[in-house]
């Protein structure tokens, strides 16, 4: 059985998804330096990190953040520049899941 918690494949270092509470922990740890957004090749329009963090946590998702979430291709370019070692790609995946579920509920 696969281990619960942080999903990391032992041999390859492929990081799988994170759970909601883990994403919340990471969001709390974010210092808002913007390095992840600067390193992102998928982000086409200016978004502030505060808005992104707030909308990742819950509530309404704005059009610009939704566009960014849909265009994120999980390349992991945002992980290396983070000074506190957070996984923005996992947070974006959480946003994608929220969008997907909201769309299916309709």
């Amino acid at each position: 059985m696969l281990k619960t918690g942080v999903r990391q494949h032992s041999n390859s270092g492929v990081l799988l998804h994170k759970t909601g509470p883990q994403v919340v922990q990471e969001l709390h740890a974010c210092i808002g330096c913007n390095e992840c957004l600067l390193a992102c090749p998928a982000l086409a329009e200016p978004i502030t990190i505060d808005v992104l963090n707030r909308e990742t946590l819950g509530g309404m998702i704005s059009a610009s953040v939704a566009r960014f979430a849909r265009s994120c291709f999980q390349c992991g370019a945002c992980v290396a520049p983070c000074p506190v070692g957070l996984h923005r790609d996992a947070m974006m995946m959480w946003l994608k899941v929220r969008l997907l579920r909201a769309g299916r509920e309709e």
């Binding site: 696969l2 619960t4 709390h28 819950g58 309404m60 998702i61």
Partner: protein, 340 residues
């Protein structure tokens, strides 16, 4: 930063839905696409005009060299600009890297088109043909990579939403806890069942065979008092007789035989609704489904990662083939220029 986690995620007026076909590029992507189409049309127009008006339609004509220089410049720009911006420590504005990626695609496609025109349909020199094949493979791998960048994250999202509960918690953990509670509940039910059945079993045995041929060990303090004896009178049977039974021991019973099968009777506690919590099999099936989903997620992530590495490897191979072709072309060109 003072965030509070809202487990329910209301999206009353916000954006909803996610599909791999969702439009994400916006105006910038359309701008780059238009530039690419315009330049390609201009190059194709010039190519048609040149073929119509010139007798020297070959790769080593002036037009051929022009296409070669322009195409190589486009490919160098495609390779260098994006790589340099990606690796550069100084990133001044959000969205610049995305613009670089768009230009990378634009220059890549343009470069291939111009170098294809440079060939003028002449595929005799091996060096040039191999370099062109390398470029075609490189551009196609890049375009496939862009499609994969859309499809794979969508498939990953589908798998992830299977592995998470509505609140975003780990479903494996939730199912494990549920299974544990089922096991505990069923164990308790079975224990209470055997406790409830023991006195009835004793009574039945006492009625059927009152003789000491069926002396079974009793729970609690051993009592060997018989009905005709007073409470004070005790039979002084040897202690070990109390544990002798002439019935077949469990080890002697053939476990395959039909009568050994456990069939609770109608009055059994186990037939009571809810005595044994059902659903363990369903939970295990769910667990297996999540495991499969996570394996698929891992596979999709590998596809994203290794396709990028494959594209870079193909780029290095194409650079090598192009240098080989340039050296070959210079070997032909330099003596001609020297004699002029």
């Amino acid at each position: 930063m003072g965030f509070t986690y809202r487990r329910e995620a209301p999206l009353e007026n916000g954006e909803k839905g996610y599909s791999w076909l969702s439009s994400t590029g916006g105006a910038t992507q359309i701008k780059r696409l238009l530039v690419t189409i315009l330049v390609m049309s201009a190059a194709a127009g010039f190519f048609a005009w040149y073929i119509h008006h010139s007798n020297d339609a070959s790769p080593d004509s002036y037009a051929g060299y022009s296409f070669a220089i322009l195409g190589t410049t486009c490919l160098i720009l495609a390779a260098v600009l994006y790589t340099w911006r990606r690796r550069s420590a100084k990133k001044d504005a959000v969205g610049k890297l995305n613009a670089s990626l768009q230009w990378h695609i634009c220059f890549g496609v343009l470069g291939l088109f111009l170098l294809f025109l440079h060939s003028f349909g002449n595929f005799n020199p091996r060096t040039g043909t191999y370099a062109l094949y390398g470029m075609i493979a490189l551009v196609i791998s890049g375009l496939i990579g862009r499609v994969l960048d859309r499809i794979m994250p969508y498939l990953i999202t589908n798998e992830v939403q299977r592995a998470l509960t509505e609140q975003g918690d780990d479903r494996i953990e939730a199912i494990s806890q549920k299974l544990q509670s089922i096991v505990v509940h069923n164990n308790q039910s079975l224990r209470s069942f055997s406790a409830a059945d023991k006195p009835a079993e004793r009574d039945r045995r006492a009625n059927v065979s009152p003789a000491p041929t069926s002396l079974v060990p009793l729970s609690g303090p051993i009592s060997n008092a018989l009905p005709f004896t007073s409470k004070e009178q005790r039979l002084h049977t040897p202690w070990d007789l109390a544990y002798i039974s002439l019935e077949a021991t469990p080890q002697e019973i053939n476990r395959q035989s039909g009568h050994y099968r456990f069939v609770p009777d109608k009055k059994s506690e186990l037939t009571r609704p809810g005595a044994l919590m059902p659903g363990a099999q369903e939970q295990i099936a769910d667990l297996r489904m999540i495991e499969r989903a996570m394996k698929r997620e891992q596979f999709y992530r590998y596809v994203i990662r290794y396709w990028r590495k494959f594209h870079v490897a193909l780029a290095l191979l194409t650079i090598g083939l192009t240098i080989w072709h340039i050296v070959y072309a210079l070997q032909l060109l330099l003596p001609t220029l020297m004699h002029k």
